[in-house]
Symmetry: D2
Subunit: 334 residues, 4 copies
């Protein structure tokens, strides 16, 4: 960690600060004199140092980390890729392309089972479906909750597909004991209390990137889970918030190679939520695979009578089929 | 709600869609023909309609709300200002200027009591202090938790100042039964499960704006609390995330008049977190009051032996004194 | 164009406003009454209406366009793809993959000729190189200017590759008469005076997206050129400014399918500037091609003695070779 | 400047890099060894070093400036405030509050003269008005141009108010020889060619902040003007682009104290463009003055017959009167 001090900081104050740093943290402090500035270099275990706290000190002009603030999620300390093995033996992060597909919301047993069968036929490896739904409005449908989880499990029985579904509250954690992958939504990416709880489980966690989370903050949230013992974290990029409003969010595909460099954790892409428009799912899914994604999570719906009109943001099973074919072709040449 | 349909949508599809809308929602549907586009106007209770869902329909070009999606937080349906009365009779939102002040983290009984006395002397009306601390890193100090809450309560006894402190988990809710104002941090603004729980209490909630939350999303989170019965919500702007990195966040002071227009809820400003630098607290506090804020929440620290050096992001009690004097002067002329 | 009026607007004011709209623009005005709001629908040529102006009217709650504000760049009025033919007969936008490559800055005749030969051998179709360099600092190297243009032309003679290079001022326009494609940089995307001048030429213009330009604003800048007569516009996405700082900018690949839908103009991607790091060029180039880009513009440098160290943001010719091979493979399967 | 090298960089490469730095720039290079990383500290004139270029080197992990990259705009090298004296003796930046007011666009002689008289009566110190109008659409009204400048000059004759108006092209510069303050709009903030030309004049330049310009980039654009000799630069914050869409832009008032700290140049605020809504002008103007702004630039319109309806984004002269009274009251207490 490099700390640039403000001009005119007195010798006495520098010494006092330097002593405090050594006392409070397990570091040695090097000093280096510029033309006008004094620079301190901290060597040792700087991960536990709060950069905002240092930055907030009166005499500090600026601070810069040299080491990343995450350890367990850091590829430097864990060079080989993490591979997640699901209940049915399927793997995520082993070089294969995982396809997680299913309806946005679980609506009925029939709906989810039918979609599960369709997406399995067309190449899905995991069934997704929302039972607890985070909604901006308290007046919007909040999901079938426990009942929805049961429908998903029955669909799993009938198809053999492992299931992934979102948790919204620590208090629901027991309901998720039989779920294959627990998803943490973008809005809860920094619900640290929830992350700590999930860190005590022995179960894969799909951690979505927060709407305006930096890549470092996202990895720090993975670190919260991993620091508690659970190393099975799958990262999921789902679009970030920018000024552009044509697409719902801006899908940050550079996150794929960046995560691959910084971390050993698998990364999958959600083109459905990122763009909010079904016709954008195919090109963005293809781009994601070309950029090296370990998988895709795609919304598929096959129940027109229950939808308001014949088409929706979700792909139909046929459209999903076409996307899977195309991304597999891309995968085969990279 | 106005729905613009895509060009070339067939008569049959339009009719089918229109029928479905009337069946699913309590609305009548008007149709209006442009040169190339068909526009539908929905009249009735459109608050419960999920705009993303409509937007996701194949035949929809775009959707626009005419009515705001919040009711209880909406000034249109509640023209008079909401005034929050605290345990000691102090009020927030009654036209006075509330000053919430105290340390970022509760560190010890002595620390919090001393600061409480100092800020009370200099004009604070509420004592703030963090017992549960949301930290980006799992390796950083997470607060004194229950013990910290006790210290705060004892400081309240000694000074008479009501206390405000942050909750991070639904499972801790019983610990907060004797707290005057419960704070929801920016990272939990869309922790809907927590919001619903707080909505069942009869206690003021300080709801911080999420790092990249729109004003509408922020009001929708207030609506989550209010829809459950608790109408005592205080909004707090604390800076939003932008591309600018000189300040930690960008303090959006236009949120003050905007909230005053859209909602009847009180709004206070946190210049300490927004800017991350103590020398910016004074000018931003003054600007906030000039723009019409109902209050300020300011970090004050007086325990140099426990800080790393003599100055910090927090103001010293003396600096706090000066800020209070200046903002009171501004308040007196507006 | 749909205009929602504020609640409580009087009959008289509505009529006055409606009459003014009809008088000022070539439109008819439909009126539609909601529960509390009045909505006006403008039918006719609404392209010339300034939406900000309407929005600024006291009685207006909000405005929404139904038609895009661009005509010549709009696929609705020009369904077939625009294909740009260069001096040597090469085409951009015809379904092939164009590769524009070369050094960031032209440094010497030898440098640019050597790189030109290398990139041609490895599959480049156009030579890029900066003679006029936009630099944040007035103290940084500003390019070889006219001399640099001469070096580029000589490299064109020796290799047959058409050249693309950036213009920074209207007053330099005569110097560019013999350039094959004139580039407008991100910082000048809304230099309307320059755009109008370029619109009078009969020469392809490569229009980079501004750092925080919406897709609509970008197309409006293309419209500025096209409205003056020059229809040969190539769009280039080069990363947008977001809160994320790991990459220099955030490459918005969803712009590719979005532009393809909204416009008939070709779109190419600049992964070098977008990411600012050479190791990100390959995956982002692959993703761009998978998403349907018409071409790539890539920095290549082969002159280590003049660079500060052996590697740089630019790819070496060998790295460039590998990228071209990989993107051609992707191109072959989509 | 501090350069952190990547792990595993060889001794030989470090030495080569260090030698190149010393050869290319006027610096000495200090080396400092961390646990895993090597850090170089450059001492000397680092202003001319392009940080992106250093960052782009293969062996570089990250770079950090210790010194600001601007000199002439830097308060460190010019501690006393810059005061701009206008043709009529009025001053900007001398501790007084400058009020620049007038119509968005100059529409006719009568209009601009009437408004000029009104705003002068109510306390304006400078007349603003657009003759050349930057418009997103080529089909929108582009201003009266040279004719508009003449109207402004005649209004100056009649009122004695100095005039400020926007330049959009270098080729128009002769038309502006008799203008008191030349404005550079947000879209041209990095039109370096224009900035250099203005730097050769002996005339105040009002430099608006670009839509997504950092404070440092803004100061660097001021530096472009100042490096050519013209030291009379007035900075103007007019809102930055963020994800929030309720206001047209987000007014960044923290820019006021930040600019005051970093630079000696005066800073004024444009609440009209920043918010896009007339009812937000008053609270934001008050906040700006409370935060320490040297002045305000406000749109005022008094010509209802030529406006589409009775109210507009611009304030009426009466509303302007009220704003001036309120901001003067704030000014008197700070």
């Amino acid at each position: 960690m490099i700390i640039v001090l403000k001009r005119g900081t007195s010798r006495e104050t520098i010494d006092k600060f330097s002593t405090a740093l050594k006392k409070n943290y397990d570091v040695t402090v090097n000093e280096w004199q510029g033309v006008n500035e004094t620079v301190l270099g901290l060597i040792g275990d700087t991960v536990s140092i709060d950069i905002d706290y240092i930055n907030a000190q009166d005499i500090v002009y600026s601070v810069k980390r040299v080491q990343e603030p995450y350890k367990k999620a850091n590829r430097k300390f864990h060079p080989e890729d993490t591979v997640i093995t699901l209940s049915n033996g399927a793997k995520i992060g082993d070089g294969s392309l995982s396809i997680l597909a299913g309806p946005c919301s679980v609506e009925s047993q029939q709906q989810v089972t039918e979609i599960a069968k369709a997406v399995k036929d067309f190449g899905a490896t995991v069934l997704r479906g929302g039972a607890f739904k985070p909604r901006t409005s308290p007046y919007a449908f909040q999901g079938l909750k426990a009942e929805g989880l049961e429908y998903l499990k029955r669909a799993r029985e009938e198809t053999g597909l492992p299931i992934v579904t979102e948790i919204m509250s620590e208090t629901d954690i027991d309901l998720f004991s039989d779920v294959d992958i627990i998803q943490v939504g973008a809005r809860n990416m920094q619900n640290f209390s929830l992350l700590k709880r999930l860190g005590k489980l022995d179960k894969p966690i799909l951690l979505k990137r927060g709407l305006s989370a930096t890549i470092e903050e996202w990895l720090m949230s993975a670190e919260y889970i991993m620091a508690e013992g659970n190393q099975q974290v799958i990262l999921c990029e789902r679009g970030i918030r920018t000024y552009e409003k044509f697409t719902r969010n801006t899908l940050d595909l550079s996150a794929i190679p960046v995560i691959k460099k910084l971390s050993h954790l698998p990364i999958i892409i959600d083109p459905s939520h990122a763009t909010g428009q079904s016709w954008l799912v195919e090109p963005m899914a293809m781009a994601a695979v070309a950029a090296g994604a370990d998988g895709l999570i795609i919304e598929v719906h096959n129940d027109p009578p229950h939808a308001l009109c014949d088409g929706a943001q979700s792909l139909t099973p046929e459209e999903f089929h076409r996307v899977v074919d195309k991304v597999r072709k891309i995968k085969s040449v990279i």
